[in-house]
């Protein structure tokens, strides 16, 4: 087990270096200089000024290998530079404030997706072609085709504007400070309902489909017939023997779909004005705040890498075969 974990960890190192390299390439993508965004007057400094600051920050006039080394050593010291925004705060500080929000939201979303997708998948697989199965199939296709920003807008119209049941922006009400402790929690929770609903919608569709597929395959296996043949209750056959094996690919898929889930935070956070990494990224792009953009990119992708690693290790815990052979099927 320890050996396996170590091997995975070693494999992650080149990827980590790769992340820094691709990010470094992105800085150099621009044809010489950062360009004025045609998005109104949100940009804070003129193109020339931003260009000058960029040149100083990354030493863009020095040879490429020197620049990359410079960038790498800064990253190793967690030095992302200072924001170009007027407050000029360190990028690391800005990201640090927002990272927990995005992290917590994504973990909650993932838990909800798994908690709902597994029973839905098992149910539709064990009752293939039933009404329930058909309804979930429709849900899967529609869920997969629904743009999350559109769903968010529709829910805002319905619950926010028309019914007035739920707040549609931010994480706290204006009078938050004056609420009692429990009221504060309730307030936070009510702010989270719509964003989480939107963020889980597409993922839930995909995962329940996967779970169904995986379950359908497992149920056809001989060991399931054997379990039935020796007279086990159907509940035990499905709930124990089949479910455990059907869950295995789900762990892998969970790891693989993480970048998508985290990337989805960009849209959800911007629509619902949630102060997370996604919203920070969009703001930074509009303000041409390059240090924040680059810092965000490196942190988010490293985070995904770590999450993938955790999924890998989790996989080896639930599937002993992996530890022995040392590689995935």
């Amino acid at each position: 087990m320890l050996g396996y974990a170590l091997r995975r960890l070693l494999l992650a190192i080149p990827l980590l270096i790769g992340i820094t390299f691709i990010s470094f390439l992105v800085i150099h993508l621009a044809p010489g200089e950062p360009v004025e965004l045609a998005t109104g007057d949100l940009g804070i400094q003129s193109s020339a000024q931003a260009k000058q600051m960029l040149r100083e920050l990354y030493g863009l006039d020095r040879p490429l290998h020197e620049q990359y080394w410079n960038w790498l050593t800064r990253l190793a010291r967690l030095d992302f530079g200072r924001s170009f925004a007027p407050d000029g705060r360190p990028v690391l500080q800005k990201i640090g404030e927002r990272l927990p929000v995005t992290l917590v939201l994504n973990i909650i979303e993932m838990l909800i997706i798994v908690a709902l997708a597994v029973p839905i998948g098992v149910f539709s697989a064990t009752r293939q072609y039933s009404l329930f199965d058909k309804i979930t199939t429709v849900f899967v296709f529609v869920g997969f085709a629904t743009p999350d920003f559109w769903l968010a807008l529709l829910l805002m119209i319905l619950f926010g504007a028309q019914l007035g049941w739920l707040p549609i922006s931010g994480l706290r009400s204006l009078n938050w400070e004056y609420l009692s402790f429990w009221r504060q929690q309730l307030d936070l929770l009510s702010h989270l309902v719509l964003p989480i609903l939107v963020a889980t919608f597409g993922g839930l569709a995909g995962f329940s489909r996967y779970m169904r597929q995986s379950m359908l395959e497992v149920v056809r296996q001989e060991y399931i017939q054997a379990a039935r043949a020796k007279g086990l209750a159907e509940r035990v056959v499905i709930g124990k023997h089949a479910l455990r094996n059907a869950m295995l690919p789900i762990v892998t898929i969970l790891g693989l779909s993480l970048p998508g889930l985290i990337g989805g935070s960009v849209i959800v956070e911007s629509i619902f004005a949630i102060p997370g990494m996604g919203q920070l990224m969009v703001q930074a792009v509009f303000e041409r705040d390059y240090p924040v953009i680059m810092g965000n990119l490196v942190v988010v992708s490293t985070l995904t890498l770590v999450a993938n690693l955790i999924a890998d290790l989790a996989y080896s815990v639930v599937d002993p075969r992996i530890r022995v052979s040392g590689r995935r099927r």
Binding site: V35, R209, P259, I267, I271, S301
Partner: protein, 286 residues
């Protein structure tokens, strides 16, 4: 081919999906003929008019006809879908072929690159790149294509690994066929089926990505109409003009849904076994 048609036709949902896709292409191509109004001409007397006889889908903040703007928007969506998936497919086929045919260290390097690209949450990467470039329809197509080739590369490589060992390939090697000829004439044509499916399913993903970027205001820029930026403008008037937000989103949903149904239909008709390789739900578009 006839066997394919017979199998495809039996899948009614896929046929409907295909028909809708065909209609959309026709609508997009014929947009200048069909649009009742000039999509760019503002009219101060008609600001935020609800849907009516002369403006079936209402007007926007500048009094422009939403239906006309959406017809023109269809052109952008479909063009971005086709071109970016085209770019991604070419890159994927080239890298997948090199990796699968050569194997060894080259294969290892290319596959690590695939792993690496898959670690980046795509939307963050797209935004970072777009921050340095001027957003236009061309840059959007390019960046969506350049960040979306990994699936095709994996597919093509996997096909090569299995086909390489097949007798017809070994025989043609033994009679001295060049590597180019073996790849081009013998292996690639056999690997095209899954690539075609991946392309059909890649187009809706690209359309979703483009509309998401345009929605954020970082995609194709106004005054060009796209479904995403009509929605972006519509969100500010959401409480008084629902039609501005509702119809473009519905158009995206119907388009993506139709492509997905079509893609699944093609896949099932080509090879029912491909169902097992259900790789498509992974990592949606961002």
């Amino acid at each position: 081919m006839t066997a394919f048609w017979r199998a495809f036709r039996r899948n009614q949902l896929a046929v409907v999906g295909g028909a809708v896709v065909l209609c959309l292409v026709v609508l997009a191509v014929a947009a200048p003929l069909l649009a009742p109004w000039d999509p760019h001409r503002p009219d101060v007397r008609k600001i935020l008019d609800p849907p009516s006889g002369s403006h079936p889908l209402g007007t926007d903040q500048l009094g422009r006809d939403v239906l006309s703007r959406m017809l023109y928007g269809a052109r952008v969506s479909l063009a971005v879908g086709f071109v970016s998936v085209g770019i991604a497919t070419v890159i994927g086929i080239v890298l997948g072929t090199i990796a699968g045919y050569h194997g060894g260290a080259i294969d290892g390097t290319i596959m690590r690159l695939v792993d690496l690209m898959l670690v980046f949450p795509r939307f963050f990467l797209l935004l970072a790149v777009l921050a340095f470039l001027r957003p236009s329809i061309w840059t959007i197509m390019a960046v969506i294509g350049l960040t979306g080739w990994m699936g095709v590369a994996r597919l093509v490589r996997a096909e090569f690994l299995t086909l390489k060992e097949r007798e017809f390939v070994i025989w043609s090697q033994s009679i001295g066929a060049s590597a180019f000829r073996i790849i081009w004439r013998h292996i690639l044509p056999n690997a095209m089926a899954p690539v075609l499916v991946a392309m059909t399913l890649g187009i809706p993903a690209a359309i979703l990505t483009e509309s998401g970027l345009s929605f954020l205001g970082l995609g194709v820029q106004p005054p060009f109409a796209t479904w995403g930026n009509i929605l972006n403008e519509g969100k500010d008037a959401i409480e008084i003009a629902w039609w501005l937000s509702f119809y473009p989103g519905l158009a995206i949903l119907v388009t993506v849904l139709s492509y997905n149904l079509l893609g699944e239909g093609i896949r099932d008709a080509l090879d029912p076994r491909l169902r097992q390789a259900a790789g498509r739900f992974v990592g949606r578009s961002r």
